[in-house]
């Protein structure tokens, strides 16, 4: 027997699958935005585990995404011809495998970055993770086998609505389930007070590494979705700005708030679309929107109770 949360996950996956089956009848423009929403939900929810729940301020999420994007793209593009016959030519088997590989490589990177840098706290950790993200980008720029700075082309078009939202649903479930248990309350304890957490028998380093590895895994998988959606990836797409974009989603949604972060990811993806007619100015409007929201709702978009009267 499954638990209630697992039924919700299954129902969501099924719903997404049904909606996805009719993809061809939807407006491709909206479909495009929807898939981007799915990717951003995955990125924001996974970063929320690291930044929000565990309180480890990471600015390197785009780095993990890049690692996942490149490794899954290399697998399907360069080795797809060899691997496809092994799974009977079924791309729906090959693609999740590629996503998992991307996620695992990113998770391994998360582990490698995590262990030394988790001795650092706060601003220092933020700077180290920022440096890590940049290193990944520069390394990718210099690997000719994946196109160097020109980027990688010819990635097969495997992503659809189902994969994008399916992964988002799984990510949200994993983050939720991980935190909502006696074990998982330890993540929040680490974020609240490390000294007290240690005194309560919580191995803070272990918790931080788990958060980093799980967060990196889903960022990597999201990178895989992105690569097989755009069919073209370049290092410049995974720069510092991308990391900041994800951090903004988490902060706007409310650190450590699952629903808020999902809403913020969707909102920030969709909101720039009607602003397209303003051309370059839309970035200014976008920035103003974030500033406005931060002033109006510093605790995050969806933090219950939604309307709380200020205490006199």
């Amino acid at each position: 027997m499954l638990s209630r949360s697992q039924y919700i996950l299954l129902a969501t996956l099924l719903g997404v699958l049904v909606v996805s089956l009719f993809s061809s009848s939807y407006n491709p423009y909206f479909l495009d935005i929807a898939v981007t929403c799915g990717i951003n939900i995955t990125l924001a929810a996974s970063l929320n585990l690291i930044n929000g729940f565990t309180g480890q301020f990471s600015l390197g999420h785009a780095g993990f995404m890049a690692i996942g994007a490149y490794s899954s793209a290399v697998l399907t593009t360069n080795y797809g011809a060899k691997l496809l016959p092994l799974v009977g030519g079924q791309t729906w088997i090959l693609f999740p495998v590629a996503l998992c590989v991307g996620g695992l490589v990113a998770a391994a990177a998360g582990l490698v970055v995590g262990i030394p840098s988790l001795r650092l706290k706060g601003d220092y950790l933020a700077i180290v993770t920022l440096g890590f993200g940049e290193i990944i980008r520069v390394i990718l720029q210099n690997i000719e086998a994946v196109g160097g700075a020109r980027g990688m082309i010819g990635i097969p078009d495997y992503t659809n609505l189902f994969w994008a939202f399916g992964l988002a649903a799984v990510t949200v479930y994993v983050v939720w389930a991980l935190v909502n248990s006696t074990y998982g309350r330890g993540f929040i304890a680490v974020s609240d007070d490390e000294v007290a957490a240690e005194a309560m028998g919580i191995n803070t380093t272990r918790y931080k590494i788990i958060a980093f590895v799980v967060g990196a895994f889903f960022a990597g998988a999201a990178g895989g979705i992105y690569a097989h959606f755009k069919q073209y990836i370049a290092p410049v797409g995974f720069d510092f700005n991308k990391s900041i974009e994800i951090v903004v989603m988490v902060i706007l949604g409310g650190m450590g708030k699952n629903v808020g972060v999902i809403v913020a990811a969707v909102l920030l993806t969709v909101v720039t679309e009607p602003l397209r007619e303003f051309g370059q100015y839309r970035i200014i409007l976008y920035a103003l929107l974030i500033i406005g929201l931060m002033i109006a709702r510093p605790q995050g978009l969806f933090v219950w109770p939604l309307w709380k009267r200020k205490n006199a």
Binding site: T182, I188, V195, A199, M200, G201, I202
Partner: protein, 266 residues
């Protein structure tokens, strides 16, 4: 003196710790028997909290050894020492402010969990049964200490006295053999102090654990401790029953200063 018939629970054997040129604790030897209530007192800066930090693994002694139940605690991280059976509270309350009262205690059951991260994802029956069991235990513990009504409130919203109590409850949830209380009476009024003394005695009797109490408040220390150790400048200057310690001239000197003959310089 500790009861000689049983082996002591905690032993500190000639422990010294230096910070640069400063010797904060010097060759401290002490022991605490199982189910003993020991007080650690001394003037400001005497090294009481440093002793706590040594026992709980925040600092490692420069020299000497600390043993719990005969086993050395050297090289263990704070969480490992808590696992061995030493829990503590803090001088300045350190709850998990964003967690609820219930979760503050629940998270401390962490040490005795059979499940881990993977099981929180699979959520099989065994996991759910264990979670339900922990929830019951947590609630029972909160009820015993009259915190049940606050279970869903944020820990930071509690009153000062309740926060102190919650911190003790949280420490108890780790199922310690030795409970270290760092100035639990700080900032309490007379009636709250009376409550606290009752509470400490109650904990000791109900859970059959040893308690080491650091406290400034003489009324509390003298009132409940079976044995008192006095530190001054990191050196143990006296040890014994409250009545003995109170009369000890060295202790009086440490607290009130010595009589000095003032010579006229002219």
């Amino acid at each position: 003196m500790p009861s000689a018939e049983t082996k002591p629970l905690l032993e500190m054997d000639r422990c010294t710790i230096r910070f640069g040129g400063l010797t904060a604790v010097s060759e401290l030897t002490m022991s605490i028997g199982a189910e003993e209530l020991v007080g650690l007192i001394g003037p400001n800066g005497a090294g009481k909290t440093t002793v706590f930090n040594l026992i709980t693994g925040v600092y490692e002694p420069s020299e000497g050894q600390i043993r719990l139940g005969g086993e050395s605690l050297a090289g263990r991280k704070p969480y490992g020492i808590t696992k061995c059976g030493i829990a503590r509270t803090f001088q300045n309350i350190r709850l998990f402010p964003s967690l609820t009262v219930f979760d503050n205690v629940r998270v401390a059951f962490h040490l005795h969990l059979k499940h881990d991260a993977v099981h929180s994802l699979t959520r099989f029956r065994a996991f759910r049964e264990e979670e339900a069991q922990i929830a019951t235990q947590t609630f029972e513990l909160l009820e015993i200490f009259h915190l049940g009504k606050f279970r869903d409130a944020a820990a930071k919203s509690l009153s000062y006295g309740d926060q102190r109590r919650l911190e003790i409850v949280r420490a108890l949830a780790t199922r310690p053999k030795l409970l270290l209380l760092d100035e639990p009476a700080a900032g309490m009024n007379a009636s709250e102090k009376q409550e606290l003394m009752k509470l400490i005695r109650f904990i000791k009797d109900k859970y059959k654990i040893a308690v080491l109490l650091v406290e400034h408040d003489m009324q509390v220390v003298m009132g409940i401790c079976e044995r008192i150790l006095v530190l001054d400048y990191g050196i143990k200057i006296a040890e014994g029953a409250p009545a003995e310690v109170r009369r000890n001239p060295k202790v009086i000197a440490a607290y009130l200063g010595e009589e000095v003959e003032i010579k006229n310089s002219k």
